[in-house]
């Protein structure tokens, strides 16, 4: 994932917030968040060996998949629920976003934009399923289940009754300001109900 996404999330989360990180991996980012923002954080991670890494970092972690992990928490337990880097891989993103809003007040989601110009050009001129920096695997190996654009995501938000309050767009050159649906490869967005 673009390092700018992590930096943006660090900027968005205020000191002392309660944060749930879904798909927290080895906990490196969550540890950084705890250290720099002094948040009360917990992670959910599916793989035992990665959850063990989180324990080594002294993080509170729940080893489980995201759906079952979310079910463990009471309503409105968190200020922020993070979904960074796994969004396209979720089987039922709508259900998970709804659940995320049950346990948290705000939800931050990162995803890859499937309508960036590089992707469009590959489909148009090569006639092949695109392989780019943010979509690095060929179709038969990718863990991405869903291919969405920024416009698709906004429509998805409207459908769920949640609205983006802040967005940040990135490509390999850095931050994208103009025509993100064309130029951005990765997106992070802060949603509120």
């Amino acid at each position: 994932m673009h390092p700018g996404i992590y930096k943006t999330v660090l900027d968005w989360i205020p000191e002392g917030a309660r944060v749930l990180d879904l798909g927290t991996g080895d906990g490196a980012f969550l540890e950084r968040l705890v250290q720099t923002r002094h948040v009360m954080a917990e992670g959910v991670e599916k793989k035992p060996e990665l959850a063990a890494c989180c324990i080594q970092r002294g993080l509170v972690v729940h080893q489980s998949n995201i759906v079952e992990g979310l079910d463990q928490y009471g309503d409105q337990s968190f200020d922020y629920v993070l979904l960074l880097g796994t969004f396209q891989e979720l089987i039922s993103p709508a259900e998970i976003v709804r659940e995320a809003f049950r346990v948290g007040r705000r939800v931050i989601i990162a995803y890859s934009n499937f309508a960036s110009y590089k992707v469009r050009l590959q489909i148009l001129f090569r006639g092949r399923t695109p392989v780019t920096q943010s979509l690095p695997q060929p179709w038969y190996r990718t863990s991405n289940l869903h291919f969405l654009s920024i416009l698709d995501f906004r429509e998805f938000g409207r459908h769920l009754g949640v609205r983006p309050v802040r967005d940040a767009f990135f490509n390999s050159y850095g931050r994208v300001v103009f025509f993100p649906n064309l130029f951005a490869e990765e997106v992070v967005t802060l949603l509120e109900k």
């Binding site: 035992p48 063990a52 509170v60 972690v61 080893q63 489980s64 463990q72 928490y73 337990s77």
Partner: protein, 399 residues
């Protein structure tokens, strides 16, 4: 799940003959202490209670590095090192010792035999002062809470006001949970392993088979048996059933399959399946070290355990102060991971800091007793990290 290394020793260390087993602790003694009276939950008053226990490591000058290890149904006070009489390794020697999951170089580690047990703590084998005969079935009902109350007396006797951690698997996990509920100020970390907040019908059912095997053995005689005429057959059957529930299908297939074991008697041409002779051995080995009445009392305590004791969870859980590390094993079908998740769910609903990990081991419920690098690492890292943090509750503690 990858196949584990062949050298892994399965099952309870106390029932194994492991040639050349070395414990870095060498021979470790057990101690006995007589403590002033305790009243059980059922209202029975013991004027005094004898407790057998073991301590390893050194208590820090601040008395803040004590870890209580709670043993499971068939466990003893002798958790690690080699037993001075039998030479056998303690039941948790894989995980307690220098540099191990519970590091005796860093922590003062305590384990005591439970109330109602048969390893030297007051139990049905003890002589009742009024009658001069063993208590037998006149021993009062024992609960997990009673066990913990006796442990609390022992901890006070050792001059410790607050435990760094309480750790235990299975019945030991229930004790760890009861500690966190009944003595919230005295527990910093709670590590329940392969346990539950109350037994399911299936768990009670398996225990009842064991109890029934004992009480229908003619030698049981209402619990009034002598040492040379005990219901050994019933106890052995109880252990055999129990043992099957502690394993997994995978572990049994891998270890025994359908291989045959020739009879030890040279005149006997018949042979048993390996799994049969293994279970016979487990049963016999257990009979030599366990009291049938104790088995009845302790399995009853397991079945009766209810973390909330019939109270609404919202009355019990907000009082908890400990941080939790909850561990389950994917292949454990006796205390399935869903039971640990149920516990974690309750904790999280009341905003108790609870870390949960479900380890992909192959050995069923016994997974916490065997050599397991991932398990060791998780426990060690969790304790290490907490050791580096200041104790937030220290100032609020009073005995």
């Amino acid at each position: 799940m990858a196949d584990p290394p062949d050298h892994i020793v399965e099952g309870d260390l106390q029932d194994q003959k492991i040639t050349g087993y070395q414990s870095p602790l060498g021979v470790t003694p057990v101690h006995k202490v007589t403590l002033r009276g305790v009243q059980t939950q059922s209202g029975f008053v013991f004027d005094q209670i004898e407790v057998t226990f073991q301590t390893l490591g050194t208590l820090s000058p601040g008395r803040d590095n004590a870890i209580l290890v709670c043993h499971a149904l068939s466990g003893t006070a002798h958790m690690a090192g080699l037993h001075p009489d039998t030479g056998r390794p303690g039941w948790w020697d894989f995980h307690v010792g220098p540099g191990k999951a519970i590091d005796t170089d860093k922590f003062f580690v305590i384990c005591s035999n439970v109330l109602g047990g048969c390893d030297g703590t007051t139990g049905p084998l003890f002589i009742r002062p009024e009658t001069g005969k063993p208590y037998g079935m006149d021993f009062p009902p024992v609960t997990i809470t009673d066990m913990v109350a006796v442990q609390a007396k022992l901890i006070e006797h050792l001059g410790i006001s607050r435990l760094f951690a309480v750790v235990g698997g299975s019945m030991g996990g229930m004790q760890a949970l009861a500690w966190a509920v009944h003595f919230p100020e005295r527990v910093r970390l709670c590590i329940p392993i392969a346990t539950c907040i109350s037994h399911s019908a299936m768990q009670i059912a398996f225990n009842e088979i064991g109890r029934r095997a004992i009480t229908t053995d003619p030698n049981w005689n209402g619990g009034n048996y002598t040492l040379d005429c005990r219901p050994n057959h019933g106890l052995a059957v109880a252990r055999m059933v129990g043992h099957v529930t502690y394993l997994s299908e995978h572990a049994m297939t891998r270890k025994f399959g359908r291989t045959l074991q020739p009879s030890a008697d040279p005149d006997d041409q018949s042979s048993l399946f390996s799994v049969e002779s293994y279970l016979h051995h487990q049963g016999e080995s257990f009979v030599s070290r366990f009291d049938p009445n104790s088995y009845l009392y302790l399995t009853r305590a397991l079945d009766q355990f209810d973390l909330f004791d019939g109270r609404p969870p919202e009355e019990v859980l907000p009082r908890l102060k400990a941080r939790f590390l909850v561990i389950s094993f994917a292949s454990d079908w006796l205390y399935p991971p869903a039971q640990s998740r149920e516990l974690v769910r309750w904790l999280k609903r009341f905003r108790v800091a609870a870390t949960y990990i479900n380890l992909e081991t192959l050995y069923g419920h016994d997974s916490f007793l065997i050599e397991n690098p991932q398990f060791s690492q998780v426990v060690r890292h969790y304790l290490d990290h907490e050791l580096r943090k200041p104790d937030m509750k220290e100032t609020a503690v009073a005995i």
